[in-house]
């Protein structure tokens, strides 16, 4: 493979991370170009890579020419390239907003923050393209460690939240590693393609099921799947705003992608989803997971309703959305998987918009509690317009993209006969409608103190660096909505057969 483009996508932010840590400390003005240029470059490069892979087929990149299964392999198929584009694109857009908010929130420590930020992006990029089960563990920890660091940078409570996250995150990673250990004992290899080749011979042994269990639980902790989600709200409540705009949209989504990848490319869906795979004979694992996902969606939505702060509310919505995707995967049909993958893309965009808006509000107003949102439509019309559109997408109003992933997920649920999952999706849409209209109402009606007379409220939008990406991202929700058909038929439809 003479084409080294893939590696540059990873190398650019990695080198930038070192540059930021060295030069950013000397002069904080170089941080912005050092963050934006490599991320922008990577985003464009991964877009072209996606087009290239769609056109001429997927390929494997062998790092340093050490042939698999001994060497390290990177896999570029339509799905991983789509994810790569998503990761680089979202982190590129998010970094516009992260720059001003970090300069305000962590003065003097921007260079440290953006070093971690860039390393986190590299870790996420690595996660989506790696074809090696052990590298996956290492990259998982790289992303986690940079997240721990970024969370802990906040003042006050964050260190404690971060510490709890470290403990739970490490348990998750160790579980994953343990599962991989079992797989290694059984097969003697860690390369995913190699594993997939050898797995049929050992399927059905208890050790294999144990390996799968450990891997799955490990990933569930990382993706904050209900009821293993408790670390996420605490960690994200107090984290620096610049971190949440990038991590909230990507971390859980990438973990879901990893689950899909491991189930389809390693453990084989036929075995994972078989009806008699379970602890008790009446209840297959698939049924159990679907029930948990359904319950998790509803419970997390209800907990979101009990919050009195915008960011806290959004954080619980992330947990609810994870239930959508996990449930979609475990419906074990094409429609459900399509819905889950489409939702990975759509939800990443929606969460990006929500947290960009949240961050802009925090920057302009100084707080995101419901009381401080009053009269916001007049004060920050652009931000609120984008937020409103995103709210509609979360409710699943067409033609925003949120509608279309829900469409596939519900169809998949009907097809598989899992009506409780369909019910949970519908219920969650309804609760989302209540949640967002409550925010709209507060922002729309109540004017702070002076009352409602006159155009007394001054405009106080956040700086352009935060507002423009937000508006663009909100426009992307519509683009993704109208393009949902194309995305499904040209990319996801191609990616699913290649997964297996």
């Amino acid at each position: 493979m003479t084409n080294n483009l893939p590696l540059y996508i990873l190398a650019a932010p990695l080198l930038a991370a070192f540059a930021v840590s060295v030069f950013g400390r000397l002069n904080s003005r170089v941080i912005a170009p050092l963050v934006l240029l490599p991320l922008g470059g990577s985003a464009f490069a991964s877009f072209f890579l996606l087009l290239q892979v769609l056109q001429s087929g997927s390929f494997r990149y062998v790092v340093g020419n050490w042939e698999a299964p001994y060497g390290i392999e990177l896999l570029f198929d339509p799905l991983s390239c789509l994810m790569l584009f998503l990761v680089t694109g979202v982190s590129f857009i998010a970094s516009f907003s992260a720059l001003p908010s970090t300069f305000r929130e962590l003065p003097g420590r921007e260079s440290l923050f953006f070093t971690l930020y860039l390393i986190m992006v590299v870790g996420l990029c690595g996660l989506v393209i790696t074809a090696d089960a052990f590298n996956l563990y290492v990259l998982l920890e790289i992303t986690s460690i940079s997240t721990y660091g970024m969370i802990a940078m906040g003042k006050g409570r964050p260190p404690l939240a971060s510490f709890n996250y470290i403990i739970l995150g490490s348990v998750g990673a160790c579980f994953y590693l343990l599962g991989v250990g079992y797989l290694y004992i059984l097969t003697g290899t860690l390369n995913m393609a190699d594993l997939a080749r050898l797995v049929p011979e050992i399927a059905g042994t208890a050790a294999y099921a144990t390996a799968f269990g450990f891997v799955l639980v490990g990933l569930w902790i990382k993706m904050a799947f209900f009821p293993l989600h408790n670390w996420l709200p605490r960690a994200y409540w107090h984290a620096p705003a610049g971190m949440t705009v990038m991590v909230a949209p990507l971390m859980t989504k990438v973990s879901v992608y990893l689950m899909v990848r491991l189930i389809y490319a390693v453990f084989q869906p036929d075995w994972v989803f078989q009806p008699d795979f379970g602890l008790m004979t009446q209840l297959s694992v698939r049924e159990v997971v679907l029930w948990i996902a359904s319950i998790g969606i509803v419970v997390a939505s209800i907990v979101a309703y009990s919050q009195r702060d915008l960011r806290r509310m959004l954080v619980y919505l992330i947990v609810a959305e994870v239930g959508y995707m996990v449930g979609g995967v475990w419906l074990a049909n094409d429609l459900g998987l399509t819905g889950a993958l489409l939702h990975i893309v759509n939800d990443a965009l929606m969460t990006l918009c929500l947290f960009l808006a949240c961050s802009a509000i925090w920057y302009a107003v100084g707080s995101t509690s419901f009381d401080s949102l009053q009269g916001l439509y007049r004060r920050m019309p652009l931000t609120m317009a984008a937020f409103t559109l995103t709210g509609f997408s979360m409710m699943g109003v067409p033609p925003t993209c949120g509608f279309f992933s829900k469409w596939y997920l519900i169809l998949g649920g009907l097809d598989a006969g899992h009506y409780q999952f369909v019910g949970a999706l519908v219920a969650s849409s309804l609760i989302n409608a209540i949640l967002f209209f409550r925010v709209f109402e507060i922002a729309y009606f109540k004017a702070p103190e002076e009352g409602e007379d006159g155009p007394g409220l001054p405009r106080q939008e956040a700086p352009m660096m935060m507002t423009v990406p937000l508006v663009l991202a909100a426009a992307l929700l519509l683009v993704a909505g109208f393009g949902a058909g194309t995305l499904v038929s040209r990319v996801i439809g191609v990616a699913i057969p290649e997964l297996m």
């Binding site: 460690i145 260190p159 250990g181």
Partner: protein, 130 residues
């Protein structure tokens, strides 16, 4: 009963790792002192590292380094050599573990500066009082 004893003895490495893991797990969940939690996490990680290392071992196996003579003659008997790959992997895992511990210790320092204690109950109490 005999069968069970044999099973225990034959796979004693597994049992040790399981016991170590449970100890670590208990410390992480049960202890209220943050340093003890961290220690529990380390024990947990070490258990897994031991587990990996132990699966590479072979009875009477030699170290996985070929002498020049063996290499030239091509007589290296794979069955007689310890599998080195798990060890290599664990080197990486140890590095990861150390980094996590480092970050965690740094975070603990910040917590201590902020609250003057490392007992979770006391910290939560102080938070609720603010």
């Amino acid at each position: 009963m005999d069968g069970l004893m044999q099973e225990l003895v034959a796979r004693y490495n597994y049992w040790i790792y399981v016991i170590l893991m449970m100890i670590g797990f208990y410390a992480m969940i049960g202890k209220r002192n943050l340093v003890k939690k961290l220690l529990g996490m380390n024990i947990f990680q070490t258990a897994i590292i031991l587990f990996f290392v132990s699966i590479g071992v072979k009875n009477q196996g030699s170290i996985p380094i070929l002498s020049k003579k063996q290499a030239l003659e091509g007589v290296a008997d794979v069955a007689q050599v310890i599998n080195p790959l798990p060890h290599v992997l664990m080197l990486t895992a140890i590095v990861v573990g150390v980094s996590v511990t480092g970050v965690a210790l740094a975070v603990l320092q910040r917590i201590y500066k902020e609250y003057g204690t490392l007992e979770e109950d006391e910290i939560l109490e102080k938070i609720s009082k603010r």
